[in-house]
């Protein structure tokens, strides 16, 4: 990650959106940052943690977003500016706290929540828009339109948050968070002031204690007052601006990354003189006067925004109140179908929408070339499905799970959760995972299934969860399974990292976000102390793991735990040298013949194994192979040879 604490105000750096936000937080003088890893938000805390010690702030990976948000609020209550960052699902996890936080206020510090959405769920289990929570719970919300704004808005938002004494949200999306762009740096502030929790507050920021009771409805009223103040400021915010003619053929109302797409689209169609862009940065409360003013610039309005028609509906509500003589534009957007109401957007979609509305044709490249290119590609370009990395212990674990379930023969199955192992929904994990919802969902669902014995249910249930997910959300479900005696096996994939999001540490790794060694919260000690039968397996020991699972499936009783312990390959490779040199003895390989039918490439599917069609034999791709040697135990003919490297 880039160094975000460079003391060089005025210079331009190439930052990803997340680094820009982190830098903005530093320039705002934060002292405390907490988060749980979640794509596309992880680098915010990651880059802060990298410089935290040097700069003298505190940054932590919390066990989950709930604790991260609450901890950040705690810092704000004690007068320290604090930031909590998460992906869109984190909003769901913290929503109960937020619903109460807006009532209590945030004290003297200044609290900002950054939520990064993942349109198209490129690295998520669901596609979800953060912004409606602003309307739902009365929270001021802003969205940066590019990388410079990501920094500048964050800094500015802290001032607003402190002044209003209420939580403010900055919403980002993948194509800002993970994209790189120019960011001109500002000044870094001086030292932090002392942290102190004042026991007496002004009426607007009263904590709910028994000594100073205040009905929730009254707090709600005060909250609305804060939002009115925010709206006033938003009316003149520099983050909202219009570019284009006074009267346009089309007015685009947009926010966030879609601002850049809209600009690209207008460039491509050469419509700078005909189409205006109203870019909004402060989205909630909506700056109604400002928006209303611009609504009369055109009789056609196109809304371009990521995921939900949030702006679209807010503006249309506004339009319902327009005076009788005002222009009533035709609204285009997700409601009309001109912009997708699902999936992420890009400049081409905006080009298409504008072209359709204005009746234009657009030909980016020579038609003949286009036809040829598309035909050639269609016929020759194969799919490239995601898979587990070569050497990933999950491949070995799911291999053993698959075999154990088949050998057991009672039609057992796996309830899944969130992480790299979510890929086991597909061929990478032999299609073993059958359900997947949210963090902790797998064990929760398993709890219900494990109690259906009285209805004749006898299928073995395995709930698979990653190590980080275990600490995040699964402990309550495990306790429930022990207490209510639900029959399932909780398989914890302990690869010593929060891998999918970038190998962040967690309570089981013995390392903090800031790189300091700390207590290890031993998962087997924890599970045993709960009264569960716990086994620890090495997933690379295929036979041993399969047998352990078979034994556990044959047992009665409530929830039990099997820990599959082996380091993530990408983490291991950074610390150690390759364990084995693996090659295939072509003489022993029988390829497609009976007794093999190319098990290694066709079913085991490690990308380090490739099929040489001409020779009719398997081969190792030495660029991809990580030298873990597990395939040597999979080959039925002993044709895969592993030698100590």
């Amino acid at each position: 990650m880039a160094n975000i604490e460079i003391d060089a105000p005025g210079t331009s750096q190439l930052f990803i959106g997340n680094e820009a936000i982190a830098r903005g937080a530093l320039e705002a003088g934060i002292g405390f940052a907490a988060a749980y890893p979640g794509t596309p938000s992880s680098e915010i805390l990651g880059s802060l943690a990298q410089v935290a010690k040097k700069i003298g702030i505190y940054a932590e990976w919390s066990i989950n977003e709930m604790v991260a948000m609450e901890a950040a609020a705690g810092a704000s209550f004690a007068g320290i500016r604090a930031l909590a960052a998460m992906k869109q699902n984190g909003i769901n996890v913290v929503s109960d706290f937020l619903a109460n936080l807006v009532m209590s206020g945030t004290g003297k510090g200044g609290l900002v929540l950054v939520s990064c959405d993942d349109p198209s769920a490129i690295s998520s289990s669901n596609e979800q828009d953060t912004r409606p929570i602003a309307k739902w719970l009365d929270i001021p919300l802003v969205e940066p339109g590019d990388f410079q704004e990501a920094k500048d808005m964050t800094k500015w938002l802290f001032d607003l948050a402190e002044e209003l004494g209420t939580l403010c949200i900055l919403r980002s999306v993948t194509r800002i968070a993970h994209a790189r762009g120019n960011v001109k740096l500002g000044e870094l502030p001086a030292k932090q002031h002392k942290a102190h929790f004042d026991q007496i507050h002004d009426l607007k920021n009263v904590m709910p204690t028994t000594f100073m009771p205040m009905p929730s409805s009254l707090r709600h009223f005060f909250l609305h007052m804060k939002l009115d103040k925010a709206r006033e400021k938003f009316e003149s915010s520099p983050f909202n601006r219009y570019a284009g003619p006074d009267k346009s053929d089309l007015l685009i109302i947009t926010s966030g990354s879609c601002w850049l797409y809209s600009q690209d689209a207008i460039e491509a169609l050469k419509l700078r003189d005909r189409v205006g862009i109203l870019k909004l940065g402060t989205l909630w409360p909506l700056p109604e006067k400002f928006v209303t003013e611009h609504l009369n610039k055109s009789d056609k309005v196109l809304f371009v925004e990521e995921i939900d028609p949030f702006l679209e509906r807010s503006v249309m509500e506004l339009a319902g109140n327009l005076p009788p003589n005002a222009i009533r534009p035709t609204f285009y957007g997700k409601r009309s179908g001109h912009i997708n109401a699902y999936g992420e957007l890009n400049p081409d979609m905006v080009i298409k929408a504008i072209s359709t509305i204005l009746g234009l044709t657009y030909q980016p490249r020579d038609i003949q070339y286009s036809k040829k290119a598309e035909a050639l590609v269609k016929s020759s370009v194969p799919e490239r499905s995601m898979t587990f990395c070569a050497g990933c212990p999950h491949r070995a674990t799911f291999w053993s799970i698959k075999n154990a379930l088949k050998l057991d023969g009672r039609d057992g199955f796996v309830t899944g959760d969130i992480g790299c192992y979510s890929l086991a929904l597909g061929p990478a994990g032999f299609f073993q995972v059958r359900t997947m919802h949210c963090m902790g969902g797998g064990a929760g669902v398993a709890n219900g299934l494990g109690k259906l014995g009285q209805f004749g249910f006898d299928q073995p249930v395995i709930a698979v969860v990653g190590d980080s997910t275990f600490y995040h959300a699964t402990i309550p479900a495990l306790i429930n399974g022990i207490y209510n005696q639900s029959k399932f096996i909780l398989v914890i994939l302990d690869n010593s990292a929060t891998a999918m999001t970038g190998f962040q540490p967690h309570p089981g790794t013995g390392m903090t976000a800031m790189g300091e060694p700390t207590k290890v919260v031993s998962m087997e000690a924890l599970c045993r102390s709960l009264g569960a039968h716990v086994e620890v397996c090495d997933p690379f020991d295929l036979k041993g793991t399969t047998n352990t699972l078979l034994k556990m499936m044959a047992e009665d009783g409530g929830a039990k735990v099997a820990i599959m312990r082996r380091s993530c390959e990408l983490v291991r490779a950074k610390k150690e040298k390759t364990p084995y040199k693996v090659h295939i003895d072509a003489e022993k390989c029988i390829g497609e013949a009976c007794g093999c039918d190319r098990l290694c490439t066709r079913i085991f599917l490690c990308p380090g194994l490739i099929w040489d069609k001409k020779a009719g034999k398997s081969r190792i791709d030495e660029v991809i192979c990580s030298g873990c040697g597990v395939c040597a135990d999979v080959c039925p003919q002993g044709a895969i040879i592993r030698e100590a490297a």
Binding site: K402, N403, K406, L407, D408, G409, F430, L550, I590, E592, A593, C594, G595, C596, D597, L599, R602, I603, V634, P636, Q637, G638
Partner: protein, 371 residues
Amino acid sequence: MAIKAKGCQDLVTEVIETRLCALCGACTGNCPYLAYHNGRVALLDNCTRTDEAQCYEYCPRTYTDMDAISRKIFGTPYGDNEIGTVKEVFMARATDAVVKKKAQYGGVVTALLSLALAEGLIDGAVLTKTSDDKTPAPFLARSVDDVLQCAGSSYMACPVLGRYNQIPKEDILKLGIVAMPCQVLSVTKMKAEPPENRVSIDNVELVIGLFCTWALSPDKFYRFLKENIDLAKVKKFDIPPPPANRFDAYTASGKTSFPLEQIRKFTMPTCAYCLDMTSEFADVSVGSVEGTEGWNTVIVRTDGGADLIEIAKKKGKLQVDKLPASNLEHIKEAALLKKKRAMNEIVKKSGDKNNLLYLGLSPRLTEKLLA
């Protein structure tokens, strides 16, 4: 052998799911897709081979042209004799005291194996070994001691052919196999069309077949035993010949008996469809002698079997006697009855006299058995 190209998916639908599977083990051990566990053969993944699928080819419950394999082994068509091709029938018992002590009845199987090993006729034997907790498991015996440890019957099916399949294909050890009639049938199919990418079937020098009316489920019956007796204390199991009508479990202090009706419900479903009581394709078949404890009925069928018996007699390893005519009559009756019962069950299951499931029998023989 196979009429149309078939694969392991067909094996699953035609044999395993229909409960015809005899747990002989012939489809396991050299294939990553089929595995035995706890009383059943499981399909772990799909195999796309629908031709030359050796699991299907050598299964004793897929189509078997009985005449063809009979001609291959004996030069004669199948079914003329109720107890199969017979060179010689007699009763015998081991002379060695150690063998006699460990023997189920006469110890003939143990004596013959020990002799074959000692003479270098075989280097090893694929047998069933019962562990301390009485679970039967396949075992490759390499010494006389090993063989002695495998003496005695568990009466539960055991997939020994899986162990045979596991032997590395370059291996040249000469082998003996002690098998049930279903397993012997599978080995015979392999002899008729030698397998590929496996240990050579030519290594199998000696097949000793056991008499069998039915076998018990290694899963269900084992669980029943576990619930009713302390298996660690059991020294030997026995189903004494009629009219005893019981299953005995012997401990150091005495024996526990179960009425045979109670035990019969644990027989493998596939046994109802089996025509072979005396392992008709073995080199030598061995069973008990009704009414005479401590002796075996021995049927010699092939030259190889006959040679071994000669050596055994010459070296004094076996005490041999004439089998009483009534015993032979009984055996033949029982064998014929098993064939007829099985044929009726087969036709009941298939619903069609012309569909004998896995059996390829001559019309003449079919008619005779269904009469």
